[in-house]
């Protein structure tokens, strides 16, 4: 199997998809279901779930997610008598699938050099690169918006198909909220698009080679320094998209329970896991756009690339990227357990009257600065 043939590309794509889902998305999302409870407990001076041990294997209670999965499997899969059966069955999948699909555009490491795996390959000397990104799409971020906005169907259809007033209300709230914050999110990313001149995530990440560089009009710096306002806007909108506190209006646990009120068993588990998958995906998009993807600054990158064999270099950088993503997931959990929730009208007010104008101003100012820098 030689480099560049169709068979090679298919095998590489399948391997990358398998890695993305089974080594990245699913484990992290599963661990987050436990981490959310454990971290919130630690923040609130409690201990949290620490004892779903398998024999002597306890590991601080990480195995709780296995116990949860097992519990979900053995629960009754209840469908309300008046519900629209087909849509009721499909809504959890509609809610979970977009997060998995969007992960295709995320670059998760430097390219592997096929044929030079165990040699030291300094930057740029790679003959047969295999990009660690499932799909190299030039429309990259547009694809992200297109697919992630489909997640609203999961919530809305679940609310509608359940034949329950509260679920319906949750579904309506979900659709209004997600559509409102979609606008801000797009505007926030527009700033990054202006700075880096591309929508392709790996191209954006590969420009952020320096953590903070004053040369080339800052264009080699991490996105957090070129687009600080954009980062805050994107973060806010991304949390609103995941429908978690402080933006948990669609779920509204103290009042309406939300669009999945009628769900039980593994179908509820899919909503639950889908929420955490969205956290992981939005964190990795944030890392890609604003924190340099897998880059840790030119000095560290070059040092490691010129001293480690290629496969080890890739492994180290992918792990470093994973740590970045994990820190962002933890940060989102921290926000979820620190801030009070908004009221529905306050949410709309924040989205349309505050964030959207600020994001438009951000785009205009960014464009003006770029224009000034190029003149």
């Amino acid at each position: 199997m030689s480099y560049g043939t169709l068979a090679f590309q298919i095998v590489a794509a399948v391997a990358k998809i398998a890695f993305m889902i089974f080594a990245f998305l699913m484990p992290i999302a599963s661990i987050l279901t436990w981490l959310e409870r454990r971290q919130s407990a630690m923040m609130q001076d409690r201990l949290g779930p620490n004892r779903a041990n398998i024999g002597p294997f306890r590991a601080w209670g990480i195995t709780h997610f296995l116990a949860d999965a097992l519990k979900f499997m053995f629960k009754e899969d209840f469908v309300p008598p008046q519900a629209h059966k087909f849509l009721f069955m499909w809504a959890p999948i509609m809610a979970m699938a977009p997060a998995l699909i969007v992960a295709a555009i995320i670059p998760f490491g430097p390219p592997l050099c096929w044929g030079q795996l165990f040699e030291v390959v300094p930057g740029g000397a790679c003959q047969q690169p295999v990009a660690l990104q499932i799909a190299h799409l030039d429309i990259g971020l547009l694809f992200y918006f297109a697919i992630s906005s489909l997640a609203v169907y999961g919530a809305t259809l679940a609310g509608w198909a359940s034949h329950n007033k509260w679920a319906m209300m949750g579904g309506l709230r979900a659709s209004s909220q997600m559509m409102s914050y979609e606008v801000t999110m797009g505007m926030a990313v527009l700033g990054s698009f202006l700075v880096y001149g591309t929508l392709e995530p790996s191209a954006i990440a590969n420009q952020q080679t320096h953590i903070l560089s004053f040369n080339d009009s800052f264009q080699k710096s991490w996105g957090i320094f070129t687009q600080p306002a954009g980062f805050l806007l994107f973060l806010t909108a991304a949390i609103a998209e995941t429908k978690r506190t402080p933006f948990d209006i669609p779920e509204g646990e103290p009042e309406i329970i939300g669009y999945f009120v009628e769900y039980s068993g593994l179908r509820f588990g899919m909503f639950f896991l889908g929420e955490f998958l969205e956290i992981v995906v939005s964190s990795s998009i944030m890392v890609t756009l604003f924190f340099g993807g897998w880059h840790w600054g030119a000095f560290i990158d070059d040092f490691l690339a010129s001293h480690l064999p290629n496969v080890a270099f890739v492994a180290v950088m992918a792990t470093a990227w994973l740590i970045k993503v994990f820190v962002f997931c933890g940060f989102q959990l921290l926000i979820r357990w620190s801030l009070p929730r908004f009221r529905s009208d306050q949410l709309m007010q924040l989205g349309w009257q505050r964030l959207l104008p600020v994001s438009i101003v951000n785009v205009v100012v960014t464009a003006a600065i770029i224009l000034w820098a190029r003149m």
Binding site: Q39, M42, L232, S338
Partner: protein, 227 residues
């Protein structure tokens, strides 16, 4: 009738209206707690953390000294029960959980004693009236323990021997000792209740004398249980 409308002007400077400083402050507080508890817990120094959790089966919190709990029957100097089967406690019990069948005592000085003394801890409402009604200081609820969980209802019915197991010698003067008991007690000072509490310990007797020391299976200090 027009409804009065009161327009509330929200106070607050610009920095409050953009939320961000307050959010950063709040995140700082929660993150500080998280770091302190997380690393304290990881290094096994629970006492340095703020964690309030008591991990029940491994750690137990001692009940307060006046806690009413599992019953016990107190004993005389010679190890017999102090109970004289006067039927006060089953009479006063609002839950009818005490069953006493009296019998004649072989001891000439004692008229009656319980042949059967059973308490159904599942029916007991833990009101403490039985201990208050007892004229002999025979039944008490000061074991600082609660009724144990059982698999069968019958296991929750404690019989006389189980109740006596927890019993110790009471410092109260035993009633039913006949007339002129004060004079008899004065002639044998080693059985005086005060003597039992002397620093040198109680006089050698067949049964231990009640003390107010913590119960034997008192809780371990927090932090000893393995995380």
């Amino acid at each position: 009738m027009a409804v009065g409308v009161k327009v509330v002007t929200r106070p607050g400077s610009f920095s409050q209206q953009i939320y961000l400083p307050a959010i950063a402050e709040g995140l700082g507080i929660t993150f500080r707690h998280f770091v302190k508890n997380f690393f304290g817990n990881l290094t096994g120094q629970r006492k340095r953390t703020d964690i309030q959790t008591i991990q029940y089966p491994e750690e137990k919190k001692a009940y307060p000294a006046r806690h009413r709990g599992l019953h016990r029957l107190m004993v005389r100097d010679d190890g017999q029960t102090r109970c004289v089967a006067c039927m006060m406690c089953p009479t006063v019990c609002p839950a009818h959980c005490i069953t006493i069948v009296p019998e004649e005592s072989p001891d000439g000085k004692i008229e009656k004693r319980p042949k059967i003394f059973e308490i159904d801890e599942l029916r007991c409402v833990v009101c403490g009236l039985c201990a208050e009604a007892c004229p002999c200081d025979a039944i008490r609820m000061d074991t600082l323990d609660h009724a144990k969980p059982v698999y069968k209802r019958g296991e929750a019915i404690l019989d006389r021997e189980e109740l006596l197991e927890r019993g110790v010698r009471s410092v109260a003067v035993q009633g039913g000792a006949g007339a002129f008991w004060r004079e008899r007690v004065a002639g044998t000072p080693q059985t005086l209740p005060e003597a039992a509490l002397l620093p040198g310990g109680p006089p050698a007797g067949p049964t231990p004398v009640e003390t107010f020391a913590p119960r034997a299976n008192a809780s371990k200090p927090p932090g000893t249980a393995k995380e």
